[in-house]
Each structure stands twice: as C-alpha cells, then as structure tokens.
C-alpha cells in the first residue's frame, strides 16, 4: 500500500457517558499513535458532551470469542443452576430473604 493511501492504524473507542457507568464500545478511529487516537475519538464520538471518559485500544490487541464456540464457552453456566438464588427452596413464611 502506498503511503499516499495509508489510512493509519485502527483503534477501538470506548466511552463512559457518566461517572459510575461502564465504558461502552462506540466504534473505531484511525490514528498513528495514542495521542492522535485520543484526539480523533474525542472529535468523532463526543461532540455533544456524550462522555466523561474515553478509552482507546489498538484493534489488533482485542481478542473476541468465536460465536461457534458459544456452546463450549457458555453452556457450563447453564447447567449449574445452583448458582441462581431461585434454585433454593425457602420454608413457607420466610421473609426478607
């Protein structure tokens, strides 16, 4: 690829909309370094005060699970229903528990 067409590295952007809330993925930006990624994320995703905090992460540093592995990854939690409070039988008349 010629540098003329180089679109720089891709970074994923996460924004926290209010303090106390989780950072949520909003999209990506292109940038040559962290500083530019941060600036671009600010310009592109928070023009209306959408955020109180920004995270940028190089896209290549993120590993995502494969949906085809969902059974293997998530089924074990389905057959361990004793992790759920509703699994337990409480005596009649028990309150506030």
């Amino acid at each position: 690829m010629s540098t003329n067409n180089n679109q720089l590295e891709v970074w994923e952007v996460f924004i926290q909309s209010k303090s106390g809330l989780p950072h949520i993925h909003v999209g990506s930006v292109h940038a040559s370094d962290i500083k530019m990624a941060m600036q671009n994320a600010r310009d592109i995703y928070t023009r209306r005060g959408e955020g109180t905090s920004i995270w940028v992460v190089p896209t290549l540093s993120i590993s995502a699970s494969n949906p085809l592995d969902n059974e293997m990854l998530f089924d074990p939690s389905n057959d361990k229903i004793y992790r759920m409070p509703t699994f337990y039988v409480m005596p009649e008349g028990a309150q506030n528990i």
Binding site: T3, L8, G27
Partner: protein
C-alpha cells in the same frame, strides 16, 4: 465470516427471522456481507461528499450565527461518514479500499450531492429537504439487522434532527423576508424538491436490489413507503411557510389522508447517477485533490510514530 453449508444458512435466516442482530464474528452468507459493504460504503461516501455543496457557503454565510451552525452541521456529516466507514470496516474491508472505490467510481454516493448550491436558500433547502429525506431513511435503518450498522444509525439519528431544523429555520426566515429572499427560497424549493424525492431510489416495482435486503432485514421499509412518509411530513411544512410545491399534480387524497404527487422524472435520476449530473466530476476531483494533498500529513504522522517506538 463466510458460510458454506445449507444448515448454517438456515440458522442464519432463523436468527434474522427472530429479530436477532448479526455481529461481525457471526456466520453469515457472503452475499449478506457484499450487500452490506455496498450499502454502508455508499452511505458513508454520501455523508462525506455531502460536505462539499454545503462547504461552498461557509465563507459566505450571512451571519456569524449562521456560519457557526453550518460549520457544526458539516462537521457532523464528516463524523457520520466516519461512523459508517468504521462500521463497514468490521466486515473486513479496509478504509483505503473504500476510498479507492469512491475515487475510481466503483462505489456510488447519493446523486443528490451532484447538484450545485446556487444561493443561500439552498443551504436551507438542503438541511430541510435533503437531511429530512435522509432522516426518514435512517430512522428506518436503526432496526437494520447488522449490529454495527444499526448502532451507527442510532448515533446518526440523534444528531440529524438539528440539521433539519436549522434548514427549515433558514427557509422560514427567508419566506418572512423581502420579496427577493422569498424568490430565492422558492427557487431553492423548485430545484431541490424532486431530487429529494429521488433520494429514496426507484419505485418498488422497479427496485432491483431489494429481494434479499428484505429477507435479511438489511432494509426494513420499501422505497415507496419511506418516500410517502417524507412527502406527508414535508408538504404541510412547505405550505405553512408559504412555499409552493413545484408539482402541478400534487393533491391530498382525503380518503387515505396521504398526499399524491405527479410523475418523478427517472430519466434525470439515471442521468445523474450515471455521472452526468451538474457536479459529478467536480465532487470526485475535489475529493481526490484533498486526499492527495493530505498525504504528507499521514506520512509525517507515521514517521513520527516510528521514531517514538
């Protein structure tokens, strides 16, 4: 991820039918991917090329207030382009590939942006009519089946309503102004009305790309349904401020409650799509020029980041 066996194709369709969203790592047909890349990149290109006709008036905006608003609006459109490029990249196409397709004419953009902006009222007409039409389409696309596209649409729709309102405000002010201002507003209305209706694409009876798009819930409502929504919303707004609808055949159907319009000139539409609109060459040349002139910035940024490592 592309998909081969019939069994997985069935599972994909079942998920779509149940209203599930499809995410980048899910298994889906290659045609689904292709359709999305075509539609999303075309959508992104439209946002970006759409900055040019409005940019034409930044230095000549009639007041500081108008200039600030126009700048913010155009900056939003650039942002919309970037949200959509970013969403399209999750399908495995690179930004440079998309830009290349735009610049070589392989990818299209909305043909409305090939019309020139001749007077200040055009900025009003674009915000009110062109963004108005785009909003109707984009609201519907918030429920599109591809997750990243849908999320980009939600974000875009939040920002769009100021675009339409600032346009209608300009039109209103001009219609309340001098005779000359009123003439300019009506002139802009005359030139932008029909192209805005064409933004929704060909009639349903003549729409070649829609079969799979509906089956896969990429598209949720048909061209004609969306166009009608726009017509019903917009005609009363025009009449309210004293604009004439440039269509001698339009009328309100009392029974259905919908406005009916005259014949759309599809020959003009096809002509503009096929590159013969008033500004097609200018728009692409402008894009190429500034893309190339910005090359040194990208090169310098890369050189700097290498040095830091």
């Amino acid at each position: 991820m592309s998909l081969t066996s019939n069994a997985t194709l069935e599972t994909f369709q079942e998920r779509i039918d149940q209203g599930e969203y499809i995410e980048p790592k899910d298994v889906f047909p290659d045609e689904y991917r292709k359709h999305l890349i075509r539609q999303m990149s075309q959508h992104a290109h439209s946002e970006v090329i759409g900055m040019q006709p409005e940019g034409n008036w930044i230095t000549r905006a009639p007041s500081l207030r108008a200039k600030q608003i126009l700048l913010a609006k155009i900056q939003d459109e650039g942002g919309h382009g970037l949200y959509l490029y970013s969403a399209a990249e999750t399908l495995g196409i690179s930004r440079s590939e998309m830009i290349n397709q735009l610049q070589t004419g392989k990818a299209k953009y909305s043909s409305i942006f090939n019309y020139p902006t001749l007077n200040w009222a055009d900025i009003g007409a674009i915000g009110w009519l062109v963004d108005g039409a785009a909003i109707v389409n984009q609201v519907s696309l918030q429920r599109t089946s591809y997750g990243p596209y849908s999320r980009a649409m939600v974000r875009i729709c939040k920002e769009e309503s100021f675009h339409q309102r600032q346009g209608y405000e300009i039109m209103t002010k001009m219609m309340r102004g001098t005779n000359e201002q009123q003439k300019m507003a009506q002139d802009a209305m005359n030139r932008w009305w029909w192209p805005s209706l064409m933004m929704f694409g060909p009639h349903d009876s003549n729409s070649p790309n829609s079969g799979n798009a509906f089956k896969w819930k990429i598209k949720r409502e048909s061209n004609d349904v969306l166009r009608q929504k726009f017509i019903d919303k917009t005609i009363p707004q025009a009449l309210l401020i004293g604009l004439t609808i440039p269509d001698k055949d339009y009328k309100l159907n009392e029974k259905t409650g919908h406005y009916e319009i005259g014949k759309i000139n599809w020959e003009e539409f096809n002509n503009v799509i096929n590159g013969n609109g008033p500004c097609n060459k200018q728009r692409i040349n402008h894009h190429i020029k500034y893309h190339n002139e910005g090359a040194w910035v990208r090169e310098a940024a890369l050189a700097y980041s290498k040095k830091q490592k």
